[in-house]
């Protein structure tokens, strides 16, 4: 079994060889430690450093780089799937009730006065447009407190939830002219907006749940890193 100092050395070895992310280092260090232990058992005369050198060579000319790239891809996909599953879950009974209630009540309100669409649209999109980046920022600050960097915090897919809706034609024009209202007949605008806004609210809820699950998993999987700030 390797000493604490040797394990520490392995972590530093990862960093100096291009793996700065703690969540990648963790698995790599265990692998290196196992391999080094085998080398040292096979050849009692070999030093720890020489054994490590030998093990590192077996990773090929790309070294550890390949692992980071592969993991990066995987994290992106995993977080996206994670969100998508939570989102789909919102349409299972009885959770689906929320979507129905939102749609029906918005439809009713917009039918009473179509101009209610404007404040509702603004409120929902601004809440989402500010809420998501703020929560993401909070999460990043929270994780940064550990002093480690994590690859698992690749949440780039989030940005589309606050950038895309803002890019929708009509959002800014809503205030300069009344194009949106003139362009679409009421019988499309009212149900369309009710469904769109409800879907957006549901996706914000799903995003919030995704992010807090990501946070919870970080706590669980990297408890040692987070024990500093607990």
């Amino acid at each position: 079994m390797l000493t604490n100092e040797q394990i520490e050395y392995l972590f530093n070895f990862c960093t100096s060889n291009g793996v700065k992310y703690y969540d990648v280092q963790l698995e790599l260090v265990d692998h290196l430690a196992n391999a080094v232990e085998v080398e040292m058992a096979n050849d009692p005369k070999i030093t720890f450093e020489k054994a490590l050198e030998k093990v590192h060579r077996s990773f090929g000319y790309m070294g550890f780089e390949l692992l980071v790239v592969a993991k990066q891809k995987m994290i992106k996909k995993q977080n996206r799937n994670f969100f998508w599953n939570i989102f789909k879950n919102q349409f299972r009974w009885p959770k689906m009730l929320l979507f129905l209630i939102l749609t029906v009540s918005m439809f009713t309100i917009f039918s009473i006065n179509i101009w209610f669409i404007k404040p509702a649209y603004t409120l929902v999109l601004v809440t989402g447009g500010l809420g998501i980046p703020i929560y993401e920022f909070y999460l990043k600050v929270f994780v940064a407190k550990t002093g480690y960097e994590f690859l698992g915090l690749n949440l780039s897919f989030l940005s589309r939830f606050w950038i895309y809706p803002l890019l929708l034609p009509g959002f800014f024009r809503l205030y300069t002219s009344n194009t949106l209202f003139n362009l679409m007949p009421d019988n499309i605008l009212i149900p369309g907006m009710s469904i769109f806004l409800s879907l957006y609210i549901i996706s914000i809820i799903a995003l919030w749940q995704t992010l807090s699950s990501v946070k919870k998993n970080f706590y669980k999987d990297y408890s040692k890193a987070f024990s500093i700030i607990r």
Partner: protein
């Protein structure tokens, strides 16, 4: 021809079958097990193993548990429900692949 390139396409079913037989395993254990079982014939490189494990995890075929082992943390992989189902399917495909190769290289058997 390089041996490793022949095995390349079969890495995924090999790992899934290993996990099916052994329950949960960690990365280094998989490389050693394969080396032992094939008496050194097949050596899975780290550069091939970990990206594959991570991809299978992202696809929901594998799940991960972390465990403290003395002064380090170990990441164990095991098959998910979907992963178990998938293993049966991919084993069938490997078998028909082997049969096809036999037909091609040893026509008398066919």
């Amino acid at each position: 021809m390089k041996k490793s390139s022949l095995y390349k396409g079969c890495l995924e079913p090999i790992i899934m079958q290993l996990l099916k037989d052994n329950g949960r395993m960690y990365g280094f254990e998989i490389t050693q097990k394969v080396k032992d079982l094939t008496r050194g014939e097949l050596k899975i490189t780290e550069g091939a193993l970990y990206p594959l494990l991570h991809r299978l995890e992202a696809e929901g075929l594998l799940e991960v548990t972390m465990e403290n082992i003395g002064n380090r943390v170990r990441k164990y992989y095991s098959l998910t429900k979907t992963g178990k189902k998938e293993t049966v399917g991919s084993m069938k495909e490997v078998q028909s692949f082997v049969e096809t190769l036999q037909i091609l290289f040893n026509p008398k058997l066919a």
